[in-house]
Symmetry: C2
């Protein structure tokens, strides 16, 4: 059986001037892969008639399924719908269900309905309408010359609902799909090239239906094995190879699932029935944000004190005035005292503390930009580490957060 | 003069399975636009020889400049460099400067140099080498049939350095570029279609060299006017039109620059010489993270108490036990007390507090998922608002954060 290939076309000038980061494509690609559709190409183009038309011609030569997002809004620069109507030789008609949906949404918002909003309920008479339960613009499903074309709104929340509720089930029903099964593990503390060196014999011995990928992320590397097919034999083969891989990297493995570091830390805390809080200076609440992005994190996370100002370190975290004066806020003594203050005041089993200089300003000869002290601890013990990052502000914050979470994970494991 | 068009090709299987969100393209597009190069198409493809080759053929028919990122790593799946070498009929030679750079980096990291790392210093003899000051893989600049092809590493931090230090200056020198000038304003509290209705006469009266774009973002809408050319006449025309636009949306305008809401709030605080702190329950530190993403935020931001657990609300923010028991954590009384506790304990001029249910768990009939109380205040006054979002956890957090920051901004303006 030949693989089903998809192209994703995202439409919108905002993608080409860089005002918007395209998160839609990653979500769509993930979900398509899960049902066995390989994304072959992703293309972003502007709200330009001939560019969109040309992309439909081109991508339908290369892929079986063409997914299109964007350009369905109510404003003049949104031309996707009339273009699709002409491309598939249809004419626009009002879809009663879509019209009803638009009316209900505006009633809820208590806003008057404008002519241009009503127009959102119009669809080409040659498509299957995908109702939008989260917004006003309906999706459209076209078929032509054995190719499927699916148009969805560009608003991520609306697109996601439509993908999960309609597009994926319809594709699964329509096509006989050979799924792609992934097994992923996360490593930390070893570079991509050293990992590759270590497992090069394993890699070269892989059968043709199983592929290995290296996915570096915040100084960690994910290793992913992907098999085509989910029959018992393929799965057994994949699992056996995954076990071999795990053995070869056991000393640097964080977790053998495709989850984030913060989720791995959360699971560990739940399994030990323990709680944690953070005291963040330089990370400014980013670690707390990562932890609370996980549903159910209130079961093990009590809170954070973002002590950006030294006064807050003193008043809320009991860091001594003298330490701040003599050693400075970015020092081992300070993060150790932040741990103690957090354990005491937020009454948790574990605490994590950060203090550093993220840049671009604030560096000195002694403590240049990128100098960070991290501490993790419980009532018995505190472990500290000094990092020296050489990135920009945003990446220094991210690297500190991920390294600190990994220190916390190791500390809990060993405690 | 005809516009200079660029295509961006990002290479890597991780982009096609959705494991990585492509932030590189947005950065590159922004920077290219600033020097007057319009991005025409963005294409993401896998580490597949024939797909990369075909994309080079195709994009060079459509664009003057082809920027390529990714596939330059030291592992077996990175095939961009040998492919480019063959595509431009070159042969690989060692670049002494690149080799020296690799050696220095490994010396600093105190790691042994592997054969595959040394190979990173090899480049085709038909390119201009772009030295990588932030990593081991050098960039490459090729010219063929009047087209420029630039290959850069996919690591965002490395690509950014190379774009800013080498690629953009070299493009500006090489080409005579007509810049594109943008004027952007941010609105809040009005939908895209209502904005469009309000300014439709303005929009239809725009000259052909000036374009208007609507850029919705977290319930706010950015309006951007773009002019081609930076001669005095064009700039004067753009400024006059931007003034007209500002007048028409003055009641809903947040700021008349292309900066984020958190940066606008920061500037406002600096201009008034005031400080702020946040008390975050449901937003879990995300507002604090947004504020501290801005360089220099330590001048006006003292910190945050992420009071995820009710104990922390009581112990650190002085919220009364009785209020939490009778009214619940998600209540107007709670966020008002959180404001008072924050002003008192963190000693700031302003405070912002959030408490809500972000989902997917924790909703009740009375307080379904998406119910959020936000308060902003100073010593004289507290203002509260209840929101009801209907999104997923991540977006509920983001919407709460942005709406809360906008409430804070308005409060400071009126104080």
């Amino acid at each position: 059986m030949r693989p089903v290939l998809a192209s994703i076309i995202t439409i919108g000038d905002e993608l080409l001037i860089g005002q918007t980061i395209d998160t839609n494509s990653a979500f769509m690609a993930q979900e398509l892969n899960k049902v066995g559709i390989s994304v072959h190409r992703r293309l972003a183009i502007g709200d330009v008639w001939k560019d969109i038309w040309q992309s439909l011609d081109e991508e339908s030569k290369l892929s079986n399924i063409i997914l299109i997002t964007g350009g369905l809004g109510p404003t003049a620069d949104d031309i996707t719908k009339p273009l699709l109507c002409q491309y598939f030789s249809g004419r626009l008609i009002v879809d009663e269900a879509a019209l009803n949906n638009v009316k209900i949404i505006f009633e809820k918002l208590n806003r008057p309905l404008l002519e241009r909003n009503l127009k959102q309920a119009e669809v080409p008479d040659v498509c299957t309408v995908l109702q939008n339960k989260r917004g006003t613009a309906p999706g459209m499903w076209f078929e032509k010359d054995g190719r499927i074309f699916i148009s969805m709104p560009g608003v991520p929340h609306e697109m996601k609902g439509m993908m999960l509720n309609d597009v994926l089930p319809m594709l699964q029903t329509k096509l006989q799909l050979l799924p792609i099964v992934h097994r992923t593990l996360l490593t930390a503390g070893i570079g991509e090239s050293f990992l590759a060196e270590r497992i090069k014999e394993f890699e070269s011995s892989l059968p043709t239906n199983i592929k290995l990928a290296y996915l570096p992320n915040y100084g960690m590397v994910k290793l992913r094995l992907s098999a085509t097919g989910n029959d018992a034999k393929t799965i057994a083969e994949l699992e056996a190879l995954f076990d071999m891989l795990k053995q070869q990297v056991s000393d640097v493995m964080v977790i053998d699932e495709d989850i984030s570091l913060q989720e791995a830390v959360g699971r560990l805390l739940i399994s030990k029935n323990k709680t944690v809080a953070t005291a963040e200076s330089c990370t400014g609440g980013y670690i707390s944000h990562l932890i609370t992005s996980i549903r159910g994190s209130s079961n093990y996370f009590k809170g954070s004190v973002v002590s950006y100002d030294n006064e807050v370190k003193e008043n809320i975290l009991n860091v001594s005035h003298q330490t701040l004066e003599t050693m400075g806020a970015v020092s081992e003594d300070t993060v150790v005292q932040m741990i103690k203050g957090t354990l005491h005041n937020l009454k948790t089993d574990y605490a994590l503390a950060t203090s550093g200089i993220m840049g671009p300003d604030g560096g000195t000869n002694d403590k240049p930009v990128g100098t960070v002290w991290v501490a993790v601890g419980n009532r018995e013990k505190v472990r500290t580490h000094a990092f020296h990052f050489r990135f920009d502000r945003q990446r220094n914050i991210e690297m500190t957060a991920h390294n600190a979470l990994n220190m916390l994970r190791k500390f809990i494991l060993e405690a």
